[in-house]
């Protein structure tokens, strides 16, 4: 039977032919991810093999930005985020509109979202175009524009000196540190660090946690038992001590911190996702999908995970602030990577000057505080938007 491909009648499909010639079908998302990752790998190889060790990656086109390994990880995370979180919103406009309508009801969450998008864009794009701030000892302890400082503390007042007090200027809107570095620039650089910590660690945690949770719930029985007992075991490993041990042996580094945060924080997510996935697998459409002949991978990927998404997403909004705080805390304790200008480093550097130059601590502290608050508001609103029943239950 010649198969006429334009024939819309389901009973005139030559299934033997189709089933034996079936190739693999790639979704737009997968193709986009593959191409972008390919480009990224090409740049990586170019950077590694062709560009001389001490010159910037894009020297050839006259751009002085040198890409460090962590940037590649970050870029890869962003590619996945773009193709599997942002693009689907565009692909399912009706669902997106519905969720937006639900989400919009929560004003603080909308403000939070704007704040987070601003942080994200500034953090990702800012460091590409703003050159890092240099130490200028003569300009130390410049106050923010609306503040003044006793002239004894400053060597050279950039703004106006009046009555023994140095006022802030627009040159350094948020003032400078004891090393004379511009705090605003440092905060923007810190945004990128925070985004890296937030995105990469979360990606690691989400991938492992979701895989464990859904597979465990879907497979059940012995598989469930083994996976969840492993989660128990890993949860009893003291991560902080492990981290201290590792920086003692290998020396600290931001990438190490990110990796450890990601690898040792998915247990809660695995449990949370599992409990949601368990209820999903009991639904009748699971049977209908099984009867269709779909593979377990397909069922988990296309049915269990999307239907557990509300749990995954709300858990993400809890994980990210936890990661940001963990990084800041470790930096404050002096256990972080002192070569990166993270918010935690800045806070830690400013603590000795708190009495006369509080902005060094307060500016990054406030940004960190607002960011974490924003994530919490966002999580709340997302939970309500994605899972309307949860809201009615809690009331």
């Amino acid at each position: 039977m010649a198969t006429d491909k334009s024939n819309p009648n389901f009973d005139q499909v030559d299934w033997d032919d189709i089933a034996s010639n079936s190739g693999r079908e790639l979704s737009t998302n997968a193709i986009g991810t593959l191409i972008s990752t390919g480009v990224l790998v090409a740049i990586l190889l170019y950077d590694y093999f062709i560009v001389p060790a001490n010159s910037a990656t894009f020297e050839a086109v006259g751009w002085g930005y040198d890409v460090i390994p962590l940037d590649y990880m970050f870029a890869f995370t962003l590619i996945l985020f773009g193709f599997y979180a942002v693009l689907p919103l565009y692909q399912n406009p009706r669902m997106t509109r519905y969720y937006w309508k639900e989400f919009r009801k929560n004003r603080p969450a909308v403000v939070s979202l704007i704040w987070l998008i601003a942080i994200f864009l500034l953090g990702v794009l800012g460091p590409l175009f703003i050159s890092p701030t240099e130490s200028e000892l003569f300009r130390k302890y410049q106050p923010p524009i609306w503040m003044t400082i006793d002239q004894n503390y400053v060597i050279e007042c950039v703004g106006t000196l009046a009555g023994g007090a140095c006022a802030g200027t627009w040159q350094h809107p948020l003032g400078t540190t004891q090393g004379g570095k511009d705090i605003l620039t440092m905060i923007i650089y810190g945004m990128q660090i925070s985004m890296k910590v937030g995105f990469i660690s979360t990606l690691i945690a989400v991938v492992i946690g979701t895989a464990f949770g859904t597979v465990s719930a879907y497979a059940g029985g012995m598989v469930d038992e083994v996976l969840m007992r492993y989660v128990d075991i890993q949860q009893s490993i003291p991560t902080l001590i492990l981290y201290l041990l590792i920086i003692y042996i290998f020396g600290g580094g931001l990438w190490l911190l990110i990796l450890l945060l990601g690898i040792f924080s998915w247990e809660g997510m695995a449990r949370y996702v599992r409990s949601k996935a368990l209820s999903v697998t009991e639904e009748e459409y699971m049977k209908a999908t099984k009867i269709s002949g779909a593979s377990s991978y397909r069922i988990i990927r296309h049915h269990v995970i999307p239907n557990s998404a509300s749990s995954i997403i709300t858990d993400i909004t809890l994980l990210i602030p936890a990661f940001l705080l963990a990084e800041a805390q470790l930096s404050f304790l002096g256990l972080g990577d002192s070569s990166v200008p993270s918010w935690g480093q800045l806070i830690s550097a400013g603590r000795s000057d708190l009495s006369f130059a509080p902005w060094i601590v307060l500016a990054p502290g406030l940004v960190l505080f607002l960011t974490i608050l924003a994530f919490n508001f966002l999580g709340d609103a997302l939970l309500d938007a994605l899972n309307p029943e949860a809201e009615t239950e809690s009331e």
């Binding site: 499909v13 079908e25 669902m95 049977k287 269709s292």
Partner: protein, 453 residues
């Protein structure tokens, strides 16, 4: 498949037991025999109804046949999809046995056999458009052409009475009836030969129900489908089925053509089910048969005929000739006594509360009368010997000697139904039933052995 004499599906001695596990080592302590040796055939283009109470195993039978669950025993031969005419292997297994299909064969089988589920509200992925839910089957089976999938599904949606635009809508935007139409489309899209419909209309309104049933009939005619139609509703069965199999506690008790079953039921359980159909004639004096008690646990089914614990026509032992309803009541009393479920003390307290007296001073006769009333027993059994035994047993019961009372009841009131397992007996033209009443010789024999004890 072209041979109308060869069944499309042959189910042989199908069993599905769920292990019951206990303790920290999860040792198996028993099994719930949800389906316990079921056999029937479904011919091309035919609809077989599978009917029974909730919990009788009919849905489990359906999902074991289609291998949504793995059967514990027996075989399901599927001869559709170009598998016809194959013969048994040397080791006695059959190449068409669904329960033994490997992964590749199973996937091919999925194209030939599909299923419709009971609850239209949960049978679609809420995060997928219905079009994608239906088209997913095409994709799973290797159709990589996205536009072609869309064309086929849109065409099919129109055939089941919806519009092509519905492709991009989500399940919650449809009513139950519409969803069941989409479920039909999903079951049809791979062009199967056989569909298991598990209570497809029981969640729908009456008017919608009729529409869906006629749609099923039309589609079946148009595409020559065979159906296994699972339902607890005899009136629906009468409308769509060519043949009916009645299930009770994991076994088929009667099977035959729909007209035969409805006009001349040979098993008391079928009678009871039929009497539950509402009769629209207000002058009809037809009285419903009330089945008392719940379905016994499938993990410990009653001996002999599994229906004897609830049967309104349970056979009397030879020496008695009681009113049938009284006999049923006597057996109910006996069974409850054996299960230690008769609490004389609380009966006494109940009587005391009714008559406003002290429980101590309630006369034994009042307690006995209350027990009789509880079990619908007449004040006096028509058979004097039976009456003597019964009242003796009640006396002992009131004297708190439940043990002895139970023993007396067990010794005297026996029925062949609990001792002999009835065989499926042919009434001609494919009508079979398993009831001792239809087997005069076996029945008499059983009575004889019973009186020997």
């Amino acid at each position: 498949m072209t041979d109308p004499d060869e069944p499309l599906v042959s189910v042989r001695d199908l069993k599905k037991h769920y292990p019951i596990k206990e303790g920290i080592l999860s040792r198996q302590v028993g099994a719930a025999k949800a389906v316990d040796g079921v056999s029937f055939d479904i011919y091309p283009g035919e609809t077989l109804g599978l009917v029974g109470e909730s919990g009788c195993g009919k849905s489990t039978a359906g999902s074991s046949i289609i291998r949504l669950e793995d059967a514990t025993g027996g075989e399901v031969l599927f001869n559709g999809g170009g598998r016809a005419g194959r013969t048994r292997n040397d080791d006695g297994t059959h190449p068409n046995d669904v329960t033994r299909f490997d992964e590749r064969e199973l996937k091919a089988f999925r194209r030939d056999a599909q299923m419709i589920f009971q609850d239209p509200s949960s049978s679609f992925d809420p995060r997928m458009t219905v079009g994608n839910s239906v088209a997913e089957l095409l994709q799973v089976h290797g159709m990589t052409d996205r536009d072609r999938r869309r064309r086929i599904v849109q065409n099919l949606l129109e055939r089941v009475g919806l519009s092509a635009d519905d492709y991009d809508r989500y399940p919650h935007e449809f009513s139950g009836g519409q969803k069941q139409r989409i479920a039909l489309a999903r079951a049809l899209v791979l062009n199967p030969d056989f569909i298991v419909a598990d209570e497809p209309v029981s969640a729908l309104d009456v008017s919608i129900k009729a529409e869906i049933l006629s749609l099923i009939n039309d589609l079946q005619e148009e595409f020559g489908l065979s159906l296994l139609f699972i339902s607890h509703d005899m009136s629906v069965i009468r409308e769509v089925c060519d043949r009916v199999a009645v299930m009770y506690l994991g076994e088929i008790v009667e099977i035959g053509k729909t007209e035969q079953i409805f006009s001349d039921p040979a098993h008391p359980y079928t009678e009871a089910l039929l009497s539950a159909i509402p009769n629209p004639d207000p002058r009809s004096t037809h009285e419903g048969i009330e089945l008392k008690g719940t379905v016994p646990s499938p993990s410990d089914p009653p001996s002999g005929c599994r229906f004897h614990t609830r049967c309104h026509r349970v056979i009397q032992s030879e020496e008695f000739d009681l009113d049938q309803s009284a006999w049923r009541s006597v057996l109910n009393l006996r069974d409850r006594a054996i299960a230690r479920e008769i609490d004389v003390e609380s009966v006494r307290e109940f009587v005391a509360a009714e008559t406003d007296t002290d429980p101590e001073s309630v006369p034994p006769d009042a307690v006995k009368a209350e027990i009789r009333a509880e079990f619908d027993l007449p004040e006096q059994l028509s058979d004097p010997e039976a009456e003597r035994v019964l009242s003796d047993a009640l006396d002992r019961m009131v004297d708190d000697d439940v043990e002895a009372a139970t023993e007396t009841l067990m010794e005297v009131f026996t029925t062949p139904c609990e001792e002999t397992k009835p065989e499926l007996l042919d009434h001609g033209d494919g009508h079979q039933s398993s009831c001792l009443r239809n087997e005069p010789d076996v029945g008499a024999e059983a009575v004889a052995t019973a009186s020997d004890d």
